[in-house]
Symmetry: C3
């Protein structure tokens, strides 16, 4: 039984949805050594989030931005927590809808995901700064 845990700091990214599968895989090369396990990816922030979605067509990520801006509108007069601007409270809501933690199975040294699945960093703030992730890779032996 082995475990690898690593904190990484992503470069600052503009507000939209970003494909970060390769950044994660290169940060944790021990993945190649794992026969059976789970990779947990956790984002340590409340105004950015993580999801898994389509990794081929960049329009999908643009459409995510369009949809979430419409579903969680910044021009709502109903929010109280807006001291940091109109993208403050909406970012918190978007992050909870999408979530802060992913669990992806690992098999024979690879993420056992669909070929069209990629890991997205969802940056909801106009200027969110660098984002910290905690990667926890649990290897468990078959008996």
């Amino acid at each position: 039984m082995n475990i690898y845990q690593k904190e990484i700091l992503l470069d600052q990214k503009p507000r939209v949805f970003h494909l970060i599968t390769e950044e994660i895989k290169s940060a944790i090369p021990e993945l190649k050594l794992i026969r059976t396990g789970i990779l947990n990816v956790f984002i340590c922030h409340t105004s950015a989030s993580l999801t898994v979605n389509e990794n081929a067509d960049p329009d999908v990520r643009k459409d995510f931005e369009t949809h979430f801006n419409s579903m969680v509108p910044e021009n709502s007069a109903d929010y109280l927590h807006t001291s940091e601007g109109p993208d403050d409270m909406t970012s918190h809501i978007k992050s909870s809808i999408l979530g802060c933690s992913l669990n992806i199975p690992v098999t024979d040294g690879k993420l056992n995901k669909g070929i069209w699945q990629g890991i997205y960093l969802c940056e909801h703030r106009n200027s969110g700064g660098r984002r910290k992730l905690v990667l926890t890779l649990s290897e468990t032996e078959k008996n």
Copy 2:
């Protein structure tokens, strides 16, 4: 410490929300041997998803379909990624709102969930084909 990992392919299902708790439990009979652990269920697709919800009244699953069709409308002119039809981009968005990965505790050979909780396959495409799941069951011994 034991781990059991299995890939299963569900039969093609029509677009709606489906209760698949029994399909999952019967695919991984090793569950009965586990004293304490976690079951991870992961769906390898970006236009279908997984959630846990009410397992008794079939109307709940109909109401999920109604709600998600309203919250993520197919008649929106705003989406760019629509080459496979109006249920293409909306399925990607629904799948990220609901999620692709479930983690359910296991205690004394059973899923330790509420009596009203069941596992849903959320099929968002009109014709989504067969869906692949990866089941990872981690047993961990109490000390």
Copy 3:
């Protein structure tokens, strides 16, 4: 390798979003002994949910209530499953959007989360009763 699993019953809480980080940490003091691992928090209900979000300003939790009431409206005539009142079906939908299961990394005896992140119990029912959580803390040794 150690695992600690515990069921806890929260006191009944009114319908809104509640910060329960301290309740969870005090229920599982073994957390302090863990060098590297994952804490899974699972809620055994279909009309309340769990999320991670901002832990400082109580207005954030009020704004969550406002937003979710608007995004999943109780006055919709479209729902079939309403036998327990207008907050019945909407609570099921809200709980699946937010989720029933959290996975948070543990490092050196502490939850390895951002300083602004707290664990929310999202009580969607007007009178939801006591809520049961299953806490599963998996410790895994570095090799």
